[in-house]
Symmetry: D2
Subunit: 449 residues, 4 copies
C-alpha cells in the first residue's frame, strides 16, 4: 500500500542527439506517432530537452547562440495519447511542478544575432549575447549579470494538443498569405521546413509528410495555444486546451526557469532541460460548453510575490526611438517601455546587453495600460526591486558598480557606460564595438536622438 514514485513518461537523454530520440519532435502535425499513453486523471512526469535540443553550452562565449540552427527548434516531448480525449473536448492540464534536472542545475538566456533569429530590440542590439544562470533550489544567479538573484516563475513555454489536418491547413494558408504579402526586410513567418524536421517515431514516409506540411513550433496559435510563453503559467496552474484529434496528442517543452512578460530577446527566458509533472483530465464537450476558441488558464498559488510597492513601473508610448508618432501601436509602446528601463538600469554600471538579457528573463510585469487614447498606446513594465542586491529605488544619481560582462559572439565586445554625473553619456569603449555601421545606429538609438 502507499503511493510510490510518479510514473515518468517520455524520457529523454542529454547524451544523445535530439534528432535521434523517438520521444521528441519539432513540428506540429497530426500524424506524428504517439510517444506514450496517459490515463484520464493520471499524473505523470515528462522529461524535456531545452528548446534547442542542446545546441547551447555552459560557457562564456555566445558563438553558439550566434550560430544556432533554428530549423531544428523547438524540440518538444510527445505527442502523448490521453485516453478518451476526442475533438471538441478540453484537456485540463494541471502543472503540478516543473524542475530542472538535478544534475544539470543551469540554464541560458540568449540574444540572437539580428541575422539569425533576432529579437524585439534587434534594430538597436543586433549582436548575439548570452548569460548562463546557475540554479540553487528556487533561486538563480548568473556570473554574466552580477548583483541579481531571484526566484524563478518556472513554467513550460510550450504546451498544446496537435492540430487536426483541417486546423493545420488553416495555419499554413493563413501564415502563407502573410509571407506572400510581406514587404518588410525581415522574415514575418516561417513556412513548413523539411530541413532538420524531426517527427518522433515516424517512419520515413511519415517524416517526409511532416516535413512538408508540419507547422513550425515558433508561434503560439489561437486554436491550440502552443508557444504562448506565458510566464505565469507556472506551478499549480490549470490550463484548458482544446482537443483537435482523437487521443489529444499532447506535447510539451521549452521549459523556462524564469521569464519576463514578452520574453523580449526571443531566446529570452532562462532556457533549460528538465522535468514537468502534469495531471491530465478530459472535459467532454468542453470547447463548446465553455465557449472557448483559444486556451484559458488559471494561475497557481505560488508565484513569487514581491508586494505591489516593490516594483518600479516604466511607461512607454507609441512614439518610436526616432521620434516618429505611430497610431495606437502597442508593440512600439512596449519597445519604448523596455528602452526606458534599460536607460534607468544602465546608470548602475550594467551594459545594455546585460539589461536586455535581464528584462527577458526576470519576472517583470508587462501591462497594457491605455490603448484607446489616440494616437498613443501606453504600456507599462514593472521591474521588481528585490531581485537586486543593491538599492535601485529612484532616489538620486546612481553609483555604478563593476558589473563584468555578459558573453558575446566572437569579435564583439561591449563598451561600458560611464555612469555617475552624466547618466545619458554613453561611451562605447575602444577598438571594436558592435559590428560595423551598427554601432552608430546603437548610439543614436539609445541617446534617443
Amino acid at each position: 500500500m502507499g503511493k510510490t514514485e510518479i510514473r515518468t513518461i517520455g524520457k529523454v537523454s542529454l547524451d544523445v542527439k535530439a534528432s535521434d530520440q523517438p520521444n521528441v519532435h519539432n513540428r506540429w502535425h497530426p500524424d506524428i506517432p504517439f510517444a506514450g499513453t496517459i490515463k484520464d486523471g493520471e499524473t505523470v512526469k515528462i522529461e524535456c530537452l531545452d528548446w534547442t535540443g542542446g545546441q547551447i553550452g555552459n560557457n562564456d562565449s555566445a558563438e553558439d547562440i550566434r550560430n544556432v540552427d533554428l530549423t531544428k527548434i523547438h524540440y518538444l516531448t510527445g505527442p502523448f495519447e490521453v485516453e478518451g480525449a476526442q475533438p471538441g473536448d478540453l484537456l485540463l492540464v494541471e502543472i503540478m511542478d516543473v524542475q530542472p534536472f538535478q544534475d544539470q542545475p543551469w540554464g541560458f538566456t540568449g540574444i540572437f544575432d539580428r541575422s539569425n533569429g533576432g529579437g524585439f530590440l534587434d534594430e538597436i542590439y543586433p549582436s548575439a549575447a548570452k548569460a548562463i544562470w546557475d540554479f540553487e533550489g528556487i533561486f538563480c544567479t548568473s556570473r554574466h549579470i552580477p548583483h541579481v538573484k531571484f526566484a524563478g516563475v518556472i513554467h513550460p513555454g510550450i504546451l498544446g494538443c496537435a492540430p487536426s489536418a483541417e486546423v493545420l491547413e488553416t495555419w499554413n494558408r493563413r501564415e502563407g498569405e502573410l509571407i506572400a504579402a510581406n514587404k518588410l526586410e525581415r522574415q514575418v513567418a516561417l513556412p513548413p521546413e523539411p530541413t532538420n524536421v524531426h517527427a518522433g517515431a515516424a517512419d520515413a514516409d511519415g517524416k517526409e509528410k511532416v516535413g512538408k506540411e508540419g507547422a513550425r513550433t515558433v508561434p503560439g496559435r489561437p486554436e491550440h495555444g502552443g508557444n504562448c510563453d506565458i510566464k505565469n503559467l507556472s506551478r499549480g496552474s490549470k490550463v484548458y486546451l482544446p482537443v483537435h484529434v482523437p487521443g489529444a496528442k499532447f506535447s510539451v517543452g521549452d521549459l523556462h526557469f524564469s521569464q519576463g512578460d514578452g520574453e523580449i530577446s526571443f531566446c529570452g527566458a532562462i532556457e533549460m532541460a528538465g522535468v514537468i509533472t502534469i495531471n491530465f483530465k478530459v472535459i467532454k464537450n468542453g470547447v463548446a460548453d465553455l465557449g472557448l476558441k483559444s486556451p484559458i488558464y488559471i494561475p497557481g498559488p505560488v508565484e513569487p510575490q514581491f508586494g505591489p510597492g516593490r516594483y518600479i513601473y516604466f511607461e512607454g508610448f507609441s512614439v518610436d526611438e526616432h521620434g516618429k508618432q505611430h497610431y495606437m501601436d502597442v508593440t512600439v509602446a512596449y519597445r519604448q517601455t523596455t528602452l526606458r528601463c534599460i536607460e534607468y538600469l544602465r546608470r548602475y554600471g550594467y551594459s545594455d546587453y546585460q539589461i536586455y538579457l535581464l528584462l527577458s528573463c526576470a519576472p517583470i510585469q508587462g501591462h497594457v495600460a491605455g490603448i484607446v487614447d489616440i494616437p498613443n498606446a501606453c504600456t507599462t513594465l514593472g521591474l521588481p526591486m528585490d531581485i537586486f542586491d543593491f538599492d535601485i529605488s529612484p532616489s538620486g544619481p546612481a553609483k555604478a558598480l563593476d558589473m563584468g560582462s555578459c558573453a558575446f559572439e566572437t569579435g564583439v565586445t561591449e563598451g561600458k557606460v560611464t555612469a555617475g554625473g552624466k547618466n545619458s553619456e554613453h561611451s562605447f569603449g575602444g577598438g571594436v564595438t558592435y559590428k560595423g555601421s551598427v554601432a552608430d545606429k546603437v548610439k543614436e538609438a539609445v541617446s534617443g536622438s
Copy 2:
C-alpha cells in the same frame, strides 16, 4: 497645536458650467495661468470634475454618450505652481487618496458611438451604451450590469506637468505628420482645436493662443505622461514627473473609480468627479539623475488583491476575427483576447455590450505574454472571478441568468444571447437591433466566421 483639515486647492463646482470655472482647463499649453501655488513638501486636496465636465447624466439612456462633445474634453484642474520646480527637475507626486464627492457617489462607463469617439472594439460594437455605477465606500455596483460588485482601483487617469513651448511644438509636429500621412478611414490623432477651448483663467488673447496651439488632452505623451490611464496608479502610488516649465504647472483630472487594463471602451473607466489628495516634492535635477525620458511610478500597497489563483486568464493572438494573420501585432492580439472573454461571459446571460463595459472598468489584468514568436504576438487578460456573485469558474455549461440591460442610445436595443446548450448561438432579439447593416457585421464577428 495639532493638524487640522488638509488645504483644498483648485475648487470646482458641479453646479457651474465647466467652461466658466477658472480652475480647470482642457488643453495642454505652457501659457495657461497658474490656478494656485503649492509648497515643496505640501499635501493638498484638489477637486476635479469628471472628464467630460458634466455632460453625462445618472439615467438609463446613452443618448448623452452618443452626443458627447469631444472638443470639450478633458477638463483638468490646474495648472498649479509648485514652488521651486524648474525644468530638469522631477516632481514627485504621491497620491495619498482619491475619493468621489460624498454627495455624488456615482460614476459612469460609456461606449462611444463609432462615429463619435469610438473605442477598441468599435468595428464590432459600434453603438453608444452606458452603465451607471453606484459607490458605497470602496465598492461599486451597477443596475446596468447586475451580479457584479468590486472594490475600485481608484486613480486619476491624467496627471502631468505642462509642456514647454519646445515640447509642445514637438507634439504638434509629430502628431501633425501622422495626421498628414493618414490613409485609414478614421481619425488617427487630434490636432489643436479652438472650438470649446478652455484655458482656465487666461484672458482672451491667451485663450486664443491656447486654442490655436494647445495640445489635446486625449493621448498620453512620453515627455510628461498625461492621459496614461494606468489603473495601478492608485492610492499610495508615487509618480515621478518630468518638469518642463518653471513652477511645473501641474494638472490632474479624469478621476476613475476603477478601470481595467486598456480602458478598452475609451470612456471605459468608471468616470467620476471627486477629490484627490496629493503630496508634492521637488527632486532637483531628477530627470538627468534618474535617466528618465518618461515618467515612472511605484504602486501603492492597497490595491485590491484577489490572489493569483482567482483569475481566469484568456489568451489572444495576432490573428484577427476575420481569420487574417497579422505580424506581431500586440494591438490585434489584445483585441482578440478581449473577444475571448466576451464569448466566455456571454454564456451567463450578459449581453456583449454589458461585458464590453465591464472589461473596460473592472480591475482586469492585461498582460503582454510572448511578443517575439513570429508571426504571433500573444497577450493575456486576467478576469477576477470574485467580482461576480455567482461562480464563473470553468466547469461546464453555463446557466444564463437574467442580466437586464445596459443603457443604449435611442433606437437601439440589444438582443439577448441564448446560453445553455449552444454557447455560440447568438440571436439578436426581435425588431430593431444594432443599427442597420452593422448588425450583420456584429453577428459575423462574434461568431468568429
Copy 3:
C-alpha cells in the same frame, strides 16, 4: 433618478460631551433604547467618537493618558434596530469604508500608566506615554515617532449586537467568578460599574439598571464579538454577528486608523473619531445554519500588502524575561516576541516607549507558530520593513538616528539608548527617569538579566 448621498445615522458631535449625546452609550445591555432603525439590505454611515469620548488631546503631553477615566469607556454609537433581525439570526455586516472626520485628520496611540489601565508590557514599561498621528489620505505619520509612515488597516475595534438578558447574566456570572477567585495583584476583569454609565437615550430608571447590570465594553466576548480588536477587520470585510435580541441592537465604535496584532499597549491602536459605512443584511436562522458560537469574518481585498519577503519575523518562547520557564504559555511567548523586536529596533535610536507604541499600532503580524512542543510555545511577530524610511534589514551594526521623543506624563523623561558599537548598552539619561524603583526593573528587564 440616481443615487445621492448615503444616509448618515447615529450622528455625533465632537463639541458636545459624550455623556450628553443620545446616540452613544458605554455599556452592553439589552435595555438601551434604539438610536435609529436600519433596513435589511441598507447601507448607512455611522459616526463614532474616539473610544474615550474625547478625553485625549492633540498635544505633546501624556498627562491626559495618565489620567484617563476608564469608567467612561468605550463610547459606542447605537444601538441600532435592524429590521427583521431576531434572536438566532445572523447579522451580516459588510464594512464598506472607514474614514476619520475630514476636519479631524489625526489620532493617538497611548501607553496607559500601570496603575490606571496598564498594558501588555506594563511590568517593564509602567509609565504613561503617547504618540499623535497625522493622517493624509491612506497614510499616517507621527511627530513622536519619526522616520515612519504607513498605510492604515483602518477598522472598528468594536462591533456587535446587544446581549440578551440571559447572555448578559452569563457574562456577569462568569466574569464575577474570575474576579472572586483573583489572587493576582492586578484587576483581572471589570464588573458592572454605575459610575459614568451612559445608557444612550434611556430614562433615569433605565440608566440606573444599565449601570447596575450592564457589561463593560472592554473585553470581547464569544457570544457576540464586541471589542475583538481584530486589525484585519478592515474595509471590505464581512462579519457575521449572532443576534440575541429582536432588532439586533447593533453598536459600533472604537475606530482605529491602524493597529498591530495584539494592540499591545491597550490604548494601542491609532484611536480616532470618524465615520464607518456599513451594509446590513439579516441571515435568518444563521446561527444554527452556520454552526456558529462566535462571530466569523472574511477580510476585504484592500489590506496593505508588503509582500511576504518584506517582513522581519521575530521569534519568542514561553521563557520569561527573568529566565523562568513557563508551560506552553502563548501569552508569555508573545510578550517575549515583542521584547525581541524592541531590542532590535532600539539600535536605530528609538526609545523603548516609542517602539512599544509603534508595535501597538503599526500593521505588524502576530502569529501563533508552534504550540504543542512542551514546554515552549513559540510565537512570531512580523515587522514590515517598508514602514520605515531607512533600511532596517538585518545587515550589521545599526546607525542610531535622532528619533526625538514620544510624549510622556509629567515628571517622566526617557533616556536614550546609545546605539552604535554596543547595542545592548542602555543608559537611562540623567536625573529623573521612569518612576522610582521601576527604573531598575526596566533596566533589568531589557538587559534580559
Copy 4:
C-alpha cells in the same frame, strides 16, 4: 566549466534503522561529533529522515501512531561544521528548497493518543488517528480527508546550532525547575533521557554523556531556535541563527510538507523524509550587532497566496469549553478558535478527527488579535476556502458529503456527524466509539455544554 549537481551532505537511508546512521542524532548536545563540513558561502543539500525515524507507515491504521516511541525523536541530520563560525556569530541560513524524496512522495499527519504524546485538543480528542498524504509536485491530497487539495508551505520544523555547555546547562536547570514544580496531571517538560539516545558518530562514552545531559529536541528554545515549527519558514526564507560553539554544529530535520499555525495535533504537520537545500553564510559578531537573543527570519517570496478575501476567519476567546472565564489566556483562546472551526466544518460531513488533522497541517493562519482587553484574549484562525473542492463560504445550511474516515487506532471508530438541518446535533454512530468514558466527554465538549 559550468555548475554541476549541488553537493549532498549528510546522506541518510530509509532502509537502515535511524539509530544506526551516523549522520543523524536525536538530542541537542555540544559533544556530538561533526557529520561533515560546510564552507562559508556554500550551498549544500542535506537529507533528512522523517522526525520519527521511520516509525510511521503508509497504511490505514493509526496503531503505529498510538505506539510511537517518543524517546527516539526527533532524528535530526548533522551536526555540521560551518567553517569560520564562532560563538557570537550569526549563521545566515537561506532555504533554497525543500523536497520530499522522489521515490517517497508521501507524508503523514498524526494525532497522538492522550497517554502517549497528546496534543493541543487531547482533552477532547484523546484517541490516536492518522492521515496519509500523497504528494504530486507542489500539491498534496489524502485518502483520509477527501475533497481537499492544497499547495504545501514546505519547510523544516527544526533547525538550529548546538548549545554550548553553558546554554545546555541553562536549559536543563530551567526545565528541571518546571518539572519539579509541576502539579498538573500531565508531563510539562522532558528531562534528558538516556533511553534510545542517538549521538550520531559519538563513541560509547560520548553517547552516554549525551544521553545523560542532552536536551530533548521537542521544544524550541529561545537561545537557538530549534523546534520552532514556523510554517512560513519555507522556500526562500533567510534565518539568522545564533552560534554557540566553534563551527556552529548546525542540525536540521523534521521536514514538513505543510503545516498550519500551531501545528495543533503535535504530530500535526505533514511529516516527511526528504532533502533540504541550504546556503550558509557566517555573519561575524552578528548576535551583538543585530541585538538578537533569539533567531529572526525573513520569509521567502513563494508562499502559497490565496488573497485576503479567500479566508474564513474564526474568532476565539479565553472562555473555555466548560464556560469558565480565564484571564488573558491566549492558549485557551486559540483552543476555542480551533473548536469554532471544527464546529463549522463538521457540518459538511467531516468527522472532528479529520478536521483536527486538517487544521494541524493545512496552511491556516493563526493570529493574535486583541490581548489587552481584560479578561478576554482574542485570537483568530484563518481557513483558506480554496483548499476545498466544494464551496465552504458562509451561505446557509451545509450539505454533508461522504467524507470517509481517517485512520484510527485499533478498537476505535468514529461516528459520523449528521449535518444538514441540525448542525449542532452530533450522533456518535453505533457500538464502540471513542474509548470508554471519553465519549461522553467528547459529546459534552463539542456541544459546548
